[in-house]
């Protein structure tokens, strides 16, 4: 994993998080919108109740006949859209074909009956007579008028059939229509909210994948670093060995030339931290394990100043200065 690739990954993660934040703000805004519309809708409903009086029965018990939902959500490209369904064109969805046709017939018959009931209650038939009279009076635009009225009649018929507002009463007050508009608007907002939710979830998953990738890499990097560190620690030191006449060492002990001791080079001395540590030294002629008792100020990193006895174990005294490799034990 190169530096560049790592940087790219971090940028991707940041981008995903940013777009997620934007979506969340949009979501909050939409939700506020929704609450506002609902508030208006409720208010209009209260107004309708007051003005409608006893003729208007505004509760869900009016909805006890088989009905099809007109407003539905359809999923296109992972976004929701509100679709309006014409109930006269659809049949109730069932798996069995024969069953569905029977149900459809029943349902249509039922709706038709209900319609007729309503029309009668409305005085719809009387209305039509009224309209007929009016039509006779006006002779000239008679044909046009009749056509218009026929259109209106068809429209009203369709509305009676499909518009659920008529379920609550036959002459809905304008505030009820207003409430209906409010709730219709709310349904649109709900569609947008659901779409945003889906997108948010998608983004979150993308982010999670990227984040996991990054963490995986970080873990790998840490592991490698730890391994390297370990290798370095376990590694042997290389340097030169000399010998000296021990006396009072920097660690505070008296030593003799016969002890298997050594003075540690100044760079590795760490202020007496290595006092008492044992080192296994490999020289050209042998190996010896020594204890650190002193500091060697003039020695370079990796060098050890051994006692004469220790030195003789790994090399000839006459050599004076030999190459060694050693490690802590």
């Amino acid at each position: 994993m190169t530096e560049e690739e790592h940087y790219d990954l971090c940028c991707q993660i940041d981008a995903a998080l940013n777009s997620w934040y934007e979506m969340m703000e949009q979501y909050e805004r939409l939700h506020d919108d929704l609450c506002r519309n609902l508030k208006e809708g409720f208010w209009n409903m209260s107004r309708a109740r007051r003005s409608g009086g006893s003729q208007l029965q505004l509760d869900s018990s009016q909805y006890n006949t088989p009905t099809i939902a007109i407003k539905r959500l359809s999923l296109v490209d992972q976004t929701f859209h509100v679709v309006t369904i014409d109930p006269s064109a659809t049949q109730p969805a069932t798996e069995d074909e024969t069953k569905s046709t029977i149900l459809a017939k029943e349902w249509n018959h039922f709706v038709h009956q209900r319609e007729e009931e309503k029309k009668y209650q409305l005085g719809y038939y009387w209305l039509r007579d009224d309209e007929k009279e009016k039509g006779e009076e006006e002779k000239k635009p008679q044909a046009v008028d009749n056509a218009e009225k026929a259109e209106k009649r068809i429209k009203l018929k369709k509305q009676l059939k499909t518009d659920p507002i008529y379920k609550f009463g036959l002459l809905p007050p304008p505030s009820l229509r207003q409430a209906q508009t409010n709730f219709l608007h709310s349904v649109d907002i709900i569609a947008s909210i659901s779409s945003v939710r889906l997108l948010m979830e998608q983004k979150r998953r993308e982010w999670e994948v990227l984040y996991m990738q990054k963490r995986h890499i970080m873990q790998k990097v840490l592991l490698i670093a730890a391994l390297l560190g370990f290798i370095v620690l376990a590694d042997a030191f290389g340097g030169q060995a000399t010998y000296f006449t021990p006396g009072l060492g920097a660690c505070g002990h008296h030593n003799t030339g016969k002890d298997l001791i050594a003075a540690l080079n100044a760079p590795q001395w760490t202020n007496g931290g290595k006092c008492g540590r044992r080192a296994k030294v490999q020289g050209p002629h042998g190996t010896v394990t020594v204890t650190i008792v002193d500091e060697c100020p003039g020695c370079k990193y990796g060098d050890l100043d051994l006692s004469p006895t220790a030195f003789s174990k790994i090399a000839k005294i006459s050599d004076g200065r030999v190459k060694i490799s050693w490690s802590w034990v």
Partner: protein, 124 residues
């Protein structure tokens, strides 16, 4: 790409479920969101002050197992009563949307989904 969501569109579109008090449900029935099939199965559930919580829970569970709903609208004060069910809910379709009712305004702090979503802000 791993982790990409794919939700299939349903023939005939998804319905919107409503769990709320009388006014909320009626309000959503006005534009034509309500459906009652021949077996009297409704996609809405009216909760009054006398409805026991078990009934609400059953209605909620029934709605969430339906595959023809895309959203379930719940008024917030009813959501409070079945908070334990909503907290454990993690399906994507149908999603749960908390709405205010006539008597109870909307409180952002109590919305489970918002909380879950806001928790992501903390885990950067």
């Amino acid at each position: 790409m791993a982790g990409k969501l794919k939700i299939k569109n349903r023939e005939g579109g998804f319905l919107i479920g409503v769990i709320g008090d009388e006014d909320t449900v009626t309000g959503f029935l006005l534009p034509g969101v309500g459906q009652v099939d021949s077996k009297r199965n409704k996609n809405y559930f009216v909760v009054s002050s006398k409805t026991p919580i078990t009934e609400i829970e059953n209605a909620f569970r029934a709605m969430t197992t339906r595959d023809d709903l895309a959203v379930i609208l719940i008024t917030q004060h009813i959501a409070e009563e079945i908070r334990h069910l909503i907290k454990d809910y993690d399906k994507l379709i149908p999603t749960i949307l908390e709405i205010p009712s006539k008597d109870h305004p909307y409180d952002k702090e109590k919305d489970t989904v918002m909380q879950k979503v806001l928790r992501m802000r903390g885990t950067q």
